[in-house]
């Protein structure tokens, strides 16, 4: 019997209430009532408090609101006021809670015992004294420069503190490390426009986006922000729809949202961009701007480039023409996974394209620039390795990064660490680097700490602790200050802050002056903390073409390997696991990869043609050999990569890191050489070719989606823009005629109820990022079942993203033929439709009448309710559900301490043997209704937002009352694109889907 109960938190209620471990069986709550000794003023048991903070799962710096119940954060949601994410959050952000409550966190400082080689816990006093003594010794010996400090690329006060500390210490060897950097982009901007900044790409202003591979909807730069903007540009609305062309060898999640995919040969993006620029200039679209760049691009004719890029010359011309003719175009550079040995030049080429089309200042704006730390280049890293090997690195401090896992093993860092005198890790988890450390001083997780982060010019996010530390960890800032104090002397003087919080407040004095000089600092600080930071509009700055661009050499980058290695290797950041830092979060491991739908594993993507040459199928193990290394990984055969290219996601292949990550999958970085961008020295990831051979072995690759072909069942519908416009026109007329009409499914509730809850999902907005899935896990206490059970089909997700490969369906006799004038198929099944599928809360629900005990029924407000305590588990409802959205508790799934502290107390933790499914977040409906009742009115539109809709970065999900003809959901449900999945079954779903719209290159 599970020992995890919804009300387990009674145990930690109060200051020292942890003494009662009494848990009865059969879903009885704790038997003791533990009051507070002194009740904190703002806390009322049973009512959540919300605290603003900053998400630190990637450098994007989204603002978050943390929902805290009785002192424990139970949900993270986007901060609606924050300029970066506007209330939205990605799956990794949602899963930050599992970082906080990770049972594999390092519980206390630890020191390696020389005799056994094992770690032993020590006290903070001991640990700090020991470290201070060692550093002091180094300092006194005048070898302070032999202390190296590796940190992440945070842009904030801790960054400044690290710098100040190192400076006070007298060591120049501070090294910023970040897996995915934007240095080539920065440098290209310096070369092209004379400003070494990362501009703001305004996707929402663009009508045509041509991306050369940046994963801007998944990991690149600021994905939540871009997803929102992209959806505004790309989704169908107001009679228009932006067009997106993905020009890249691999169709990533981002690429799967494209209207057209142009699979160019790897490392040829530069040539295509140049050729497009050339065509644009040649056709006179560049106007006066053309003159300056004409000589640069002249040699790159489409014919010449087409050959190198492996596409038709006509395609290049088409791209150029479209780009030129679009009222607002935007070209995006390749992403980090496509950074080759000439990445800067590629970025310059893209800059030229944007410049030639007049996008600079329009869709590419300098001024509100993104701020990122500037990570060290390859040479600096090599120097560190050399220093280590030469014994010149006596003490190495590592904070916030795991270089052993995120640096290609060809660097030899792992071996070099052997020669480090004292390796100190500040990791919160036992990552690969921490596992090698001599001393571990575990840092707080972001949700436990003070901090700040400035993701963009004019945006200062402020982080505050939302819980007392779960384990005996300590903020690294505090540790550094404490070390300084212990070392005394000028060190203590120069770093005289009592704790990091005071340091933080002091460094915010300047921001105070900038933003609100009239307020007292106290007032300003209080407001900033409660808002989650401060921000302001930043004006765009005009830029001009720099002379330096003339000196850029557009050499075709080289790839390692020869004729024996025919496949180019792409190692891309996993949308779920990023660079691997999220690998020990069970929600993210169990979240199907948005493209392949694989969980808990690594794979190599390979084109069917290549697969048939090798004679392999999905699941067959391949040996991948590059000049730098080899590994075995299971093949995933699909058409999302070119036949001459293979792709392996990053993020897996941990040896340590915790129960969910260790020994899982492979780390493809072992295949990469030490390669760098010629100009910036930033690591080049697109640098090698590989050979493949089948081992003959099979590996279990758990693909959770049964089939990606909807068999013409009109489950995921795509229409051409013209058809969508016409349908919208009809709908508009109908709405004009009968403005108050309700949709049919509004009837399916008690006549006396003012509500019939419903949902509308715009498939033309949905990007398939799966943030909703993780939000649903977090909100609804959905258990994680592990790879074994997923392989059997037992994942518990109430909400899943189904991705179907579709062709455009012409409606209303429009256009005549199949796909004519709509989409040019570059490959079969050209259009990917991401379809969020959850309980449809049908009016005529097939699941309901078959339940022998009324455990599921239709409630007066139109919800399809599942009563867990009534359910006996016949599972008939699931058999009769055409949408297959019901999940069954196969076991008493566990939430190992302290993961159980995350459980939402408003949602029952289900016992084994019961059926469950999406409830439309009924707890939120009930709470909104309760609040509205207390105010003596009905629930207003927008007051109930389920977790999925709340977090959706693309704003694709709208929830509300179908009985209110003015509600957003009602209006969407009457849209011309509205349809019900399997509507022919007369299930009368409450969920309305709006058809995906594909915009062909002749439309607009």
């Amino acid at each position: 019997m599970s020992e995890i109960k919804r009300r387990d938190f009674l145990k930690i209620l109060g200051l020292s209430g942890a003494g009662t471990g009494l848990v009865g069986c059969a879903q009885e709550p704790a038997k003791k009532l533990i009051p507070y000794l002194v009740q904190p003023e703002e806390i009322i048991p049973g009512i959540p408090n919300w605290y603003a903070s900053v998400c630190r799962e990637c450098p994007a710096g989204c603002g978050v609101h943390v929902k805290v119940r009785e002192g424990r954060p139970i949900k993270v949601e986007g901060n609606p006021d924050h300029p970066v994410n506007a209330g939205r959050l990605c799956a990794r952000g949602q899963a930050s809670l599992q970082g906080l409550y990770n049972p594999d966190r390092i519980a206390s400082p630890m020191r390696r015992v020389a005799e056994t080689g094992e770690f032993a816990p020590i006290s903070w006093e001991e640990a700090e004294a020991f470290l201070a003594e060692r550093i002091q010794a180094l300092r006194q010996a005048g070898r302070a420069d032999r202390l190296h400090f590796l940190t992440d690329a945070a842009a904030g006060s801790s960054e400044r503190l690290f710098a100040a500390w190192m400076e006070a210490l007298g060591s120049p060897n501070r090294l910023i490390f970040e897996s995915f950097d934007l240095e080539p982009l920065r440098e290209a901007n310096r070369l092209t426009f004379g400003t070494a900044e990362i501009p703001s790409y305004e996707l929402d202003r663009a009508d045509l986006i041509v991306s050369f591979g940046a994963g801007f909807l998944e990991t690149w730069s600021s994905p939540v922000q871009y997803a929102r903007q992209f959806s505004r540009s790309h989704s169908f609305g107001d009679g228009r729809k932006g067009r997106f062309i993905h020009v890249s060898p691999r169709r990533s999640l981002t690429g799967s949202n494209a209207d057209q995919w142009v699979p160019i040969r790897p490392a040829s993006a530069m040539l295509v961009a140049l050729a497009m620029t050339r065509e644009l200039v040649a056709d006179g679209h560049a106007g006066a701007r053309g003159a300056a760049i004409r000589p640069l691009v002249e040699p790159f004719t489409p014919e010449r480039v087409a050959e190198a890029a492996g596409i038709e010359a006509e395609t290049v011309s088409q791209l150029a023409r479209e780009f030129a003719e679009s009222p607002a175009s935007l070209a995006l550079p390749p992403g980090v996974e496509l950074a080759d040995r000439n990445a800067t030049a590629t970025h310059v080429a893209v800059n030229l394209l944007n410049y030639a089309a007049g996008n600079v200042g329009r869709t590419v704006r300098f001024g509100p620039n993104l701020r990122r730390g500037r990570p060290a280049g390859v040479e600096r890293l090599q120097a560190l390795v050399t220093a280590m090997n030469g014994g010149a690195a006596e003490i190495v401090l590592v904070h916030g990064v795991d270089p052993i896992h995120t640096l290609p093993s060809a660097f030899g860092l792992s071996e070099a660490l052997e020669n480090v005198g004292l390796l100190v890790s500040f990791a919160s988890y036992m990552d690969e680097t921490a596992a090698r450390a001599d001393l571990i001083l575990p840092d707080h997780t972001p949700l436990e700490s003070w901090g700040d982060h400035s993701p963009a010019v004019g945006v200062h996010g402020l982080q505050q602790p939302t819980i007392n530390p779960v384990f005996d960890s300590k903020h690294t800032g505090d540790v550094l200050l404490s070390l300084a104090a212990r070392m005394g002397g000028d060190m203590a003087e120069r770093l005289a802050w009592p704790n990091f919080n005071s340091y933080l407040q002091e460094s915010w004095q300047t921001i105070h002056q900038e933003f609100a000089p009239s307020q007292s600092f106290e007032q300003f600080w209080r407001a900033a903390v409660s808002r989650g930071g401060v921000w302001r509009e930043v004006a765009a700055q005009p830029v001009t073409l720099s002379r330096a661009v003339g000196g850029v050499e557009f050499d075709v980058p080289t790839l390692d390997g020869d004729a024996t290695t025919p496949y180019t290797l792409i190692t891309y950041p996993s949308p779920n696991l990023y660079d691997g830092r999220s690998a020990n979060r069970p929600w993210l491991q169990e979240l199907p990869d948005p493209v392949t739908k694989i969980v808990w594993n690594s794979w190599i993507e390979i084109h069917p043609d290549a697969a048939s040459q090798l004679g392999v199928q999905t699941g067959d193990v391949l040996t991948v050999t590059s000049p730098s290394g080899r590994l075995d990984v299971a093949a995933f055969v699909h058409e999302g990569v070119r036949a001459d290219t293979v792709a392996i996601p990053l993020g897996q292949g941990h040896e340590h890191f915790g129960r969910w990550a260790s020994g899982r999958g492979v780390n493809p970085l072992s295949l990469l050489p030490v390669a760098k961008d010629a100009t910036t020295g930033s690591p080049a990831r697109l640098a090698t070719r590989v050979a493949l051979s089948a081992t003959g072995g099979r590996s279990r690759l758990v693909v959770v989606q049964g089939s990606d072909d909807d068999q013409g069942r009109e489950i995921a519908e795509v229409v051409s823009l013209a058809a969508a416009l016409e349908a919208e026109e009809h709908a508009h007329v109908a709405i004009e005629r009968e403005p108050d009409a309700l949709v049919e499914s509004a009837q399916d509730a008690d006549p006396k109820s003012p509500y019939r809850w419903g949902m509308a999902i715009d498939l033309s907005s949905c990007i398939g990022c799966s943030a909703c899935v993780t939000a649903c896990y977090a909100e609804n206490n959905i258990p994680v079942v592990g790879e074994e059970n997923c392989a059997q089909g037992r994942e518990m997700a109430w909400l899943r993203i189904e991705s179907y490969y579709e062709h455009v369906v012409e409606e209303n006799g429009h256009g005549g033929g199949h796909g004519e004038g709509a989409v040019h198929d570059e490959s079969k099944g050209s259009h990917v439709v991401h379809l969020p599928m959850m309980c449809q809360h049908c009016g005529n629900a097939p699941c309901e009448p078959v339940c022998p005990v009324y455990a599921t029924y239709h409630n007066p407000e139109g919800l399809n309710v599942q009563v867990y305590n009534r359910c006996v588990g016949t599972r008939y409802c699931s058999n009769n559900c055409p949408y297959k959205v019901r999940r069954f508790e196969w076991f008493d799934f566990e939430f190992p301490y302290p993961l159980n502290l995350q459980l939402n107390p408003d949602v029952t933790v289900r016992q084994k043997g019961v059926m469950e499914k999406c409830t439309f977040c009924v707890q939120r409906i009930m709470s909104a209704r309760s609040d509205a009742n207390a105010r003596g009115r009905d629930v207003a539109d927008g007051e109930v937002v389920p977790a999925c809709a709340q977090t959706c970065p693309a704003e694709a999900i709208v929830f509300g009352n179908l009985r209110d003809s003015n509600s957003r959901v009602s209006k969407l449900a009457r849209s011309g694109r509205a349809y019900h999945v399997l509507g022919e079954l007369n299930t009368r779903p409450a969920v309305t889907y709006l058809k995906e719209v594909a915009r062909g290159h002749e439309e607009g």
Partner: protein, 233 residues
């Protein structure tokens, strides 16, 4: 006929045995008081078990606290101590600090108050024995009931007459529904329901007889919802 008599006898005996069994089960279900524990000494109040209302029917608490004394004799308002009872889903227990607000002075010497101070000084929470509880799958919102003007004693009994708190009501589903099923008396709510019915009824599926008068939520003809999802989700 003797065989008939014998048959009647055996049926009767079986019935009796069944009744006895049922009685036994009910007997076992009653709270078993730990009478031997903690007889309070040295207080000027009579703590003779024979005179204490509720003694033996509820658990022995770590501190002897009499609701009769506080809510009855001194007529303290329930919400003074259980201050969240109308705000939150949980009524919750008062913090120790609140007790000491009075008891730093009032009867500070009494043995029970000494215990209270002991908890406070040790920084320990008082592990009150829970009397009223609902299963994990019941989403009971205490505040909503108080706001709906359900009197405390409707569920907790006359605590102002009880020295020892015991589970006064059965807290079974049928018991909850007894109240929920009572006819709605709030005119405003009835009017709202009628309005909605006029608005949605014609377009609804009332003609199918799907939603009769007896199914309702807050907007209808019953005082409380009898919709399962009102409490179970």
């Amino acid at each position: 006929m003797p065989s008939n008599r014998r048959r009647a006898l055996s049926v009767g005996l079986t019935g009796l045995a069944g009744l006895a069994l049922i009685a036994l089960v009910f007997q076992l279900q009653r709270p078993h008081p730990a009478l031997s524990a903690a007889l309070v000494q040295g207080d000027q109040f009579s703590l003779d078990p024979d005179t204490l209302v509720g003694w033996g029917r509820g658990p022995v608490q770590p501190i002897f606290f009499s609701h009769r004394r506080h809510a009855g004799v001194y007529e303290m308002d329930c919400l003074y101590c259980h201050s969240n009872a109308d705000k939150s889903a949980w009524a919750a227990m008062p913090p120790v600090e609140l007790c000491l607000g009075c008891h730093r002075v009032v009867r500070a010497a009494s043995s029970e108050i000494q215990k209270l101070r002991g908890y406070q000084e040790r920084g320990e929470a008082i592990p009150w024995e829970r009397v009223y509880w609902a299963y994990d799958f019941v989403q009971f919102n205490h505040g909503r009931h108080v706001r709906a003007e359900v009197e405390c004693e409707e569920c907790h009994g006359k605590v102002e007459e009880h020295d020892v708190i015991y589970k006064w009501a059965p807290l079974t589903m049928g018991w909850c529904l007894e109240c929920h099923k009572k006819p709605q008396e709030d005119e405003a709510k009835l009017a709202a329901a009628a309005r909605n019915a006029a608005l949605f009824g014609e377009r609804g599926r009332e003609s199918h007889g799907l939603y009769p008068r007896s199914i309702d939520s807050d907007y209808g003809v019953l005082s409380g919802p009898i919709d399962c999802a009102a409490c179970h989700y």
